[in-house]
Symmetry: C2
């Protein structure tokens, strides 16, 4: 930086740089954007950060993010209580809700078992899931990611659930809609063949 | 989003999405990062935004960003007062200071003349630059970007300065150090040939 040093600007650039996927140049650009905002816009931005952080916590039933006691899904009277879809992260719930086809409950594990990253079953919301098996739940859909970690987590959880007499299913593997066979990897194609359906 | 809606989270995602170069997915990821911060970190982040916005303004001499009355360069007693390097944006000053070779003054225009974007000479800090020509300045280096707009701005400013008896120079064009001739465009190669230096 040579002799040029403006502490409040450097601090803001540093804060942006600490966010995932944002390098030094992008952080500078974001900081300049903040300086170009009106006073009100900048204060709104700061308030949104504090407010989100203060008001949002996990739903005491499904562990998804919410600003109320229960999340909107757990609160809803119209959603099927007998099916629970288990996902890794809150953003997976948003993705499934966007798809719009599912009308059951969710459970967010907040991660996947990953020995390499030091994440074991105890750090996930697995006992909260087991606590929900009170006889009203007929099916648990494992919708963890199609990765080694997601797969291992699905297997681990299903082994805990099956002895309780719950049906455990897994999302189908196959070629993505709108994709191109040419670009599908071998494992996906094998799974798509194995899971073929009669027309 | 289906039925899932958490207002404080959506507001934060929206704020991040309004920043340049940040799409919806990145904005979501940044919002989740904020939620994962400690209470103190989130408040620090918010405070950095408000503080930078409140404390930073333009230097009354060179129009660069600063939190004082004068910027560190204008304040410095050890820097050469007889040379002014004219740049488009504050980030260009940071780039030149990082290079470390330059020991003169700066002047930040806050943009370049661009009729297509509706930016004329009056929106730039050109009269502030002319006001600095009090006889102590011997050379003005035009370091606007090597684009059509930067070029036009350099020409425009130099025509105003020359009648005042000031020497006006332009950064050299040529092949970038560490670059590859093969990938240099024709215009750059032409300029590099024109500007060749004896070894």
């Amino acid at each position: 930086m040579g002799s040029y040093y403006v502490p409040p600007l450097d601090r803001l650039v540093e804060k942006f740089e600490s966010l995932p996927g944002i390098g030094h140049k992008s952080a500078q650009r974001l900081a300049y954007t903040v300086l170009d905002m009106s006073r009100e816009e900048a204060q709104d931005f700061a308030a949104a950060i504090v407010e989100a952080h203060e008001k949002i916590h996990t739903c005491k039933v499904c562990c998804n993010l919410t600003d109320g006691d229960l999340c909107p899904v757990c609160r809803s009277a119209t959603r099927d209580k007998s099916t629970i879809c288990v996902v890794e992260e809150p953003k997976d719930v948003f993705a499934l809700e966007r798809a719009g086809d599912y009308n059951g409950q969710y459970h967010v594990l907040h991660g996947a078992i990953s020995p390499l990253s030091g994440v074991g079953p105890d750090q996930l919301k697995i006992k909260e899931l087991l606590a929900r098996m009170d006889g009203t739940v007929g099916e648990v859909i494992m919708a963890t990611n199609p990765t080694v970690e997601g797969e291992a987590t699905a297997m681990y959880v299903s082994r805990l659930l099956k002895p309780l007499g719950v049906k455990v299913t897994r999302l189908a593997y196959g070629i993505p809609v709108g994709g191109d066979l040419e670009y599908a990897d071998e494992v996906t194609l094998q799974r798509a063949l194995e899971g073929r359906q009669e027309l």
